[in-house]
């Protein structure tokens, strides 16, 4: 036996098992490789199906899970009202701010539009007024647009809610019932949010502001349309105080309605 053969035999003898294992390993790797390859092939075919299913599922969520989610949300909200309010407050605040910005934009658009209508009579009067008064035209237009208008004034007995006097531009609603309802709402609110001696001062109702001013045995409720800022509020309060001093402070409360009409018939307070 040549030397090399012997060596090979010895090698074979010694390494026999190892070689088997290597072969085994090689086979295993082959299968793995093919599995991987196949998976890639599969994936390229399956992925679109999964994607589609997923998309459908996402689309179905509102319908399939909606009620469950709503229900648990409801419970969550009910159980943690304060937290929810705290969370919503800034968002709602922002929404209101946005709304106001939007309204301002509309307002300035309106002003621009008015300025461009340069041949209307009103416009010439305004131009004239502006010249005479020295107030620039934009400001005059803003004044016109933002003009506050009083629609109703009620003087109501505090306890009973009975109407003492009324000034009104519309004859449609039942003043007696409104007075009683206002009084009920007022006492309800004041009772529900007991904070010392605070009383309800303003109800915002659609485009209207209902200004409430308390006196000892009665209160005023003034329904106004338009801008209701603190300057206007101040003026109104002053006028109501004046009126009360003149006509309600003493003596019988008679013909107050007529006096109210005389007092407030011009809109420019």
């Amino acid at each position: 036996m040549p030397e090399s053969n012997k060596l090979r035999q010895l090698k074979e003898l010694l390494l026999h098992e190892d070689r088997d294992e290597i072969a085994l390993l090689q086979a295993k790797i082959k299968t793995l490789e093919s599995i991987l390859e196949k998976q890639e092939q599969l994936a390229s075919r399956i992925d679109p199906i999964i994607d589609k299913k997923l998309a459908q599922y996402t689309k179905d969520i509102p319908e399939k899970l909606g009620p469950t989610i709503t229900e648990s949300l409801k419970n969550e909200i009910a159980n943690s009202k304060d937290a929810v309010v705290d969370a919503l407050f800034p968002i709602i605040g922002k929404m209101i701010k946005k709304y106001i910005q939007q309204e301002f934009k509309i307002l300035s658009d309106k002003i621009n539009a008015q300025l461009q209508k340069s041949f209307s009579l009103k416009n010439w009067t305004r131009k004239f007024k502006s010249k005479v008064s020295g107030i620039d035209e934009e400001n005059l237009i803003i004044q016109e647009l933002a003009k506050t208008e009083i629609h109703e004034i009620f003087i109501i007995e505090k306890n009973s809610g009975i109407l003492i006097a009324n000034f009104s531009k519309a004859k449609t609603i039942d003043k007696d019932v409104i007075s009683a309802m206002l009084t009920a709402i007022k006492s309800f609110v004041e009772d529900a949010f007991k904070t010392g001696n605070d009383s309800l001062e303003l109800i915002e109702y659609g485009l209207y502001n209902i200004h409430i001013q308390n006196f000892n045995s009665y209160y005023f409720a003034v329904v106004a349309h338009g801008v209701f800022d603190s300057a206007y509020k101040g003026k109104l309060e002053y006028e109501l105080l004046n009126f009360a001093e003149k006509h309600l402070a003493k003596g019988p409360k008679k013909n107050i309605s007529i006096k109210l009409a005389e007092f407030f018939n011009n809109d420019d307070l």
Binding site: E157, K158, N159, S160, G161, I162, L163, D174, D176, V177, A180, M181, T183, A184, K186, S187, F188, E190, D191, K254
Partner: protein, 162 residues
């Protein structure tokens, strides 16, 4: 000049406060039960009484068995309370005396009338078992048949405008 008078109806749940007012103001009756929540206010102009035009401003309160729970402001300035109970449900007059006493104590100057309503539901008004309660009651009425409804408000109006 029209004078307005504040009338307040109170009593347990479902005794017929809303029905009585409805019968009086619009002459309608319904067997549906719609619970009053909070307060509901209606007005009825009365024919001239003792030379005066009178408007009744009627406050229909939600039912309660404990008048201490009513928002006090609803009761202030009232000219007449009408305390209603349901003659067919003893529970609704179980604390009649107690509630009437409380009202008289808190509002000594206010007129108060007690009304046994749903009188149409009982067979015999003269039955012994009602005797005690009815003796303490000013009116028996039925919002369903209209029995005594107009009389109740007429006499109250007269009493208020002297």
């Amino acid at each position: 000049m029209t004078t307005s008078k504040k009338i307040v109806l109170l009593g347990h749940f479902g005794v017929g406060k809303t029905s009585i007012i409805r019968k009086f103001v619009t002459n309608e009756f319904s067997s549906d039960y719609k619970v009053t929540i909070g307060v509901h206010i209606l007005k009825k102009e009365m024919p001239v009484t003792n030379g005066e035009d009178v408007s009744l401003i009627i406050w229909d309160l939600e039912g309660t068995d404990n008048i201490d729970l009513i928002n006090k402001a609803y009761l202030l300035g009232t000219h007449c309370f009408i305390y209603v109970y349901d003659i067919s449900r003893p529970l609704t007059f179980s604390n009649l005396e107690e509630n009437v006493l409380k009202l008289k104590e808190k509002f000594p100057k206010t007129l108060l009338k007690t009304v046994a309503n749903k009188i149409d539901l009982i067979d015999d008004v003269n039955d012994e078992k009602y005797k005690d309660t009815l003796q303490k009651t000013d009116y028996t009425s039925s919002a369903k048949t209209g029995e005594n409804i107009a009389d109740l408000f007429d006499s109250i109006t007269k009493a208020l405008v002297i």
